[in-house]
Structures are given as structure tokens and as C-alpha cells.
């Protein structure tokens, strides 16, 4: 296994230590040690916007801590949802008197741990709402949408909710706009190279030297279609088509695009794919209001990328355009 790590047992602790040392202007560590918070959190009079999840997805989740983004994050082990205590502490530390919005991906580990933590916090009088992102169109048919995984679309929700909370909106408004964001957000990814699990040194999935798989989850969960490696244009066309059909997106729509590399796929390739995506959306008379191209939600060194489209209304345009000052996402 070619990774620069020390003892596996200390992996998460050392990463968190390094992260806090590097970003002490924006981030602080809470007593439970695996919960990180924006230095100014809790912000009185603002709804706390938080998340949490397994590690190995950097810059997600902790890279989105900051002004106009996330207030706290509960950090799990590699690909493992954080336990209840951390989730609970993350909720408590984000509450500035107006309650807390938990924005997580649709994984039973995350929903159960945050669900139990939310109950504890609610028992103490903190209003908590949980939004569950299910943007991965590959992970269940449309009639079982509530079973779909949350993937890079989570970043879009954090951006929107961080901005809306910053505007001073209340928890009910956040929940309403958040659900609208989730409903309007669809993603699909492709991977050709697994990540290596640092615990075992083994690849997260098996795949042939000339193969790729559409719909692989960002923990290496199997996707929907295994094929020979396609060209940039072919793969972008295939992914975009499946996303467009799913909402469906149509002529006249305005969207945001988030193209996130999974780890080892280069920005060079992503821009080649973006070129095709732009052509396809233009052909469909869909306007790209804003784009994000880079690594936003990775799977360590996995090879591949995902495309996330969000259909925007006036609210969502305002929110995606709002400035933010996160550790790994800064917007003027």
C-alpha cells in the first residue's frame, strides 16, 4: 500500500491534529476530540448548520467548516459514520439558540447515529432537524428515491444551508429550502480505479485494467454498469444523460454544476469532460449558472469523478452565489 501514513490506529487522530494545527484560524477542536467546529461557533441567533460522516473524503467534511458554511462536523473513522456521542456534541456545539440543522448523506450509519444524537439534544430542548441527501441517481430507481445514497450533492446542500443560516433564516425555513435543494440535486459518478483501504492495504473493489464502472459510490460501493473504459466525451454524455432524465431537467432550466474528482483523476481530464458537459447542457437549453470543478468529495485515491446538477430557483441562485469562507471552499 502506497500511502504516507503512520500507524493505522492513529490515522484519524493524526489527521485531525494536523488539520487543526493548519487551520487554527478557522477551526477549533471540541472536548470529544473528534468533533471540529468553526472558531466562532456557536453563533448566537444563527441556526447551526452541521454535518458528519466517515473519513477519507477530504476536503469533505471538515474542509467545509467556516463562515457561510458549516458550524460543526462530527468525524468518523474511515468510511464509518461517527458515533452518537460525537454527533450529539456536534449538535450541541452548533446551537446558538435557534436550533441546529443536520445535513447528512443517506447512509444507515449516519442517519441512525445522528438520529439518536438528535433525540438526546431535543430532550434537552434544542430544536434539531435532519436533512438527508439522496442525490446519487445510480443508487436506486426513481420510485425508491428515498433509498438513494448521498454523494457530492451534500456539498451543494452545505453551501445553500450555510448561506441561508448566515442570512438569519429560521430552522423551518432552512428545512423547507433544504428539502427543495435536495430534491433538485442529482449526481452520478464513475470510477475506474479503487481506493486502497488503509486498514488492510486492499483495494475497495476489484476492477479490470480496461474497465470502469458507472455509479460507484464514494466508499467504493458497486454501481450499476460495468463497461470498457470510455472516452471523456462518451462517459460525460452517458452520465449527463442519466442525470438529465432523472429529475428531469429541461429547456430553460438554470443549474449549478459540481464536478468532483474522486481522488486521482486529474483536473486536466475534468476540464475535458466539462467541455462536453457544457456542450450537452447548451444543446438542451439548460444554463449553467455557476460551476465548481475540482476535488470536493473524494474517496482517497480513487480514480473517477462525479457530476452533480442542481436545478436552481431564485432562492437557490442567491444562496449558491453567496460568499463563504470555508477552509477548503472560499467564495467572494
Amino acid at each position: 500500500m502506497k500511502k504516507f501514513i503512520n500507524k493505522y490506529e492513529n490515522l484519524i487522530e493524526e489527521m485531525v491534529e494536523g488539520y487543526v494545527l493548519a487551520n487554527s484560524d478557522k477551526v477549533k477542536r471540541l472536548p470529544t476530540e473528534r468533533v471540529l467546529a468553526y472558531s466562532n461557533a456557536p453563533i448566537q441567533g444563527k441556526v447551526g448548520v452541521i454535518t458528519g460522516g466517515g473519513s477519507g473524503h477530504k476536503p469533505a467534511f471538515i474542509g467545509y467548516i467556516g463562515k457561510g458554511l458549516l458550524d460543526t462536523v462530527a468525524v468518523g473513522d474511515i468510511f464509518a459514520a461517527p458515533p452518537v456521542q460525537r454527533c450529539y456534541e456536534a449538535i450541541k456545539a452548533a446551537d446558538g439558540g435557534k436550533g441546529v440543522l443536520v445535513c447528512i448523506g443517506n447512509y444507515s450509519g449516519d442517519t441512525m447515529n445522528f438520529g439518536m444524537a438528535a433525540e438526546l439534544a431535543q430532550d434537552e430542548g434544542i430544536p434539531v432537524e435532519i436533512l438527508v441527501v439522496n442525490d446519487d441517481v445510480a443508487s436506486s430507481p426513481k420510485d425508491r428515491m428515498d433509498n438513494r445514497r448521498g454523494v457530492a450533492g451534500e456539498v451543494v446542500l452545505w453551501k445553500m444551508m450555510g448561506a441561508l443560516a448566515q442570512e438569519g433564516a429560521d430552522l423551518a425555513t432552512l428545512k423547507e429550502v433544504g428539502n427543495r435543494t435536495i430534491f433538485n440535486t442529482r449526481s452520478l459518478g464513475v470510477a475506474h480505479t479503487p481506493c486502497i483501504m488503509p486498514s488492510s492495504g486492499k483495494p475497495s473493489f476489484q476492477i479490470g485494467d480496461d474497465e470502469m464502472e458507472i455509479g460507484v459510490g464514494h466508499h467504493g460501493e458497486p454501481g450499476i454498469q460495468r463497461t470498457k473504459l470510455m472516452s471523456a466525451d462518451e462517459v460525460t454524455t452517458l452520465i449527463t444523460q442519466k442525470i438529465l432524465e432523472d429529475l428531469p431537467f429541461g429547456a430553460g432550466d438554470e443549474v449549478s454544476v459540481l464536478m468532483s474528482g474522486l481522488g486521482s483523476t486529474s483536473l486536466l481530464e475534468m476540464y475535458i469532460c466539462y467541455r462536453k458537459l457544457h456542450q450537452i447542457l447548451t444543446d438542451h437549453q439548460i444554463t449553467i449558472h455557476r460551476n465548481y470543478i475540482g476535488e470536493f468529495f473524494t474517496s482517497m485515491e480513487m480514480g473517477g469523478f462525479s457530476i452533480t446538477l442542481t436545478k436552481l430557483d431564485e432562492d437557490l441562485k442567491r444562496l449558491i452565489d453567496a460568499p463563504c469562507d470555508g477552509v477548503h471552499l472560499i467564495q467572494h
Binding site: P83, K202, S204
Partner: protein, 215 residues
């Protein structure tokens, strides 16, 4: 062999569970690879290390099996994480509640413990039998204990029946279509693989039940 189970026997079973899980850590990761995220062995061994710590920290002057199981449950819930954390944690909590205050378990108590354990999984996971989860190992185990008890079998027979049912339950997940957790997104492609949670449950059930009767 006595037909009751002492506090110490229960307490010591957790060393044996941890051992069994550690032996199978990579095997459980590997089961989690084709239909999940390759980490189940890590999560479950890490959680049962925490369990071991909770057991070791249990006050030396107390011997309430119920409260021991509850503190184990709390440890898993609070610091286990992953999907298995809330599931196993709730199961131990509920099992502890079911036998609250007992320092010795009768055959009947063991049935109550296991049934509550299974109901805990069911409650937390909103899961039914046949959905390809750990519940498919655990529920049949509880059922087998119940049945053996109802038939008036001695403890050792009950335990053998429980272990056999756990094994069969685990193996039954191989042909199932997953409807819960990560693997539920695979549809037909989930078929043909043993569920990793069902396998870890088998190791836990087996090590636990065996320790209750072995020295």
C-alpha cells in the same frame, strides 16, 4: 454442568467475542467489499475493543448482568459509530433492560436476553427477517433458544441450537436480496454474497453462547 449462568461467565465472554472478531477482521472487511464499503471488520472490532474497556471498567463490587450489558450497549452506541454501532448498541441496551438486576441467569433469562437483543436490532434498524442483515442471524438465534427452552432442553442443548441457528441464519443471507443498509442499493447484484453484519453477528453469537457453557 449447571443450568444457570454466572455474572463472571457473561463478563468473560466479551474477551472471547473480541478475539473471535479480531481473527475475522479481514474476512469481515472482505465480505463488506463486494456489497458494501469494505470496513465492517474494522468497525466491529473497534467497537468490541470499546466493549472490552467498558467491561473492564465495570465496578468490581457489582455483579448485575443487566447493568453490565447496558453499559456495554451505551459504550457501543456512544462510541461505536458506523451502522453497526447503533444496532449492536441498542441490542445490548435492550438485552440489559430485559434482565435488569440479575447476577445469575436462568435458562429463561437467557431466552429473554436474546429475544430483547433481537428486538433491539429490529427496533433500531426498522428491519424484518429476510432483508439480508445481521437480523437474519440474530432473530433465528433467539427463536432457537426460545424453542429449545419451550421444549425443556437443558442449557447446553439450547446453546447448541442457538449457535446452529446463527450459522444457518448467516448463511441464509447469501441468497437474499438486500433491502437494508448499503447493499440495498445493489438490487439483484446483492444476491450471492453473505451479509457482513450477519457474519459478525454469527461470530458474536457463537463466541458469546459458547463462553456461557465452556470454562
Amino acid at each position: 454442568m449447571a443450568d444457570t449462568i454466572s455474572f463472571n461467565r457473561v463478563k468473560e465472554s466479551f474477551a472471547s467475542i473480541l478475539n473471535r472478531l479480531e481473527e475475522n477482521r479481514q474476512y469481515l472487511n472482505d465480505l463488506d467489499s463486494p456489497i458494501g464499503d469494505s470496513d465492517h471488520g474494522e468497525s466491529v472490532t473497534a467497537a468490541f475493543k470499546k466493549v472490552k474497556e467498558a467491561v473492564d471498567a465495570y465496578p468490581a463490587d457489582q455483579n448485575d448482568i443487566g447493568s453490565l450489558l447496558q453499559s456495554i450497549g451505551k459504550a457501543i452506541i456512544f462510541s461505536g459509530g458506523a451502522a453497526m454501532g447503533p444496532l449492536y448498541g441498542t441490542a445490548f441496551m435492550d438485552a440489559g433492560t430485559a434482565i435488569c438486576g440479575k447476577s445469575v441467569l436462568t435458562r429463561e433469562d437467557l431466552v429473554a436476553l436474546m429475544v430483547a437483543f433481537a428486538r433491539g436490532i429490529e427496533r433500531r434498524g426498522k428491519v424484518k427477517i429476510g432483508e439480508k442483515t445481521m437480523f437474519d442471524t440474530i432473530y433465528p438465534t433467539a427463536e432457537a433458544l426460545q424453542k429449545a427452552f419451550d421444549e425443556g432442553k437443558p442449557l447446553s442443548d439450547m446453546i447448541n441450537a442457538g449457535i446452529a441457528a446463527a450459522k444457518q441464519g448467516m448463511e441464509s443471507t447469501k441468497d437474499m436480496l438486500s433491502l437494508r443498509g448499503r447493499s440495498s442499493r445493489l438490487g439483484e447484484r446483492s444476491i450471492g454474497h453473505i451479509d457482513p453484519g450477519a457474519a459478525s453477528s454469527y461470530f458474536i453469537m457463537e463466541a458469546f453462547l459458547k463462553s456461557l457453557v465452556e470454562g
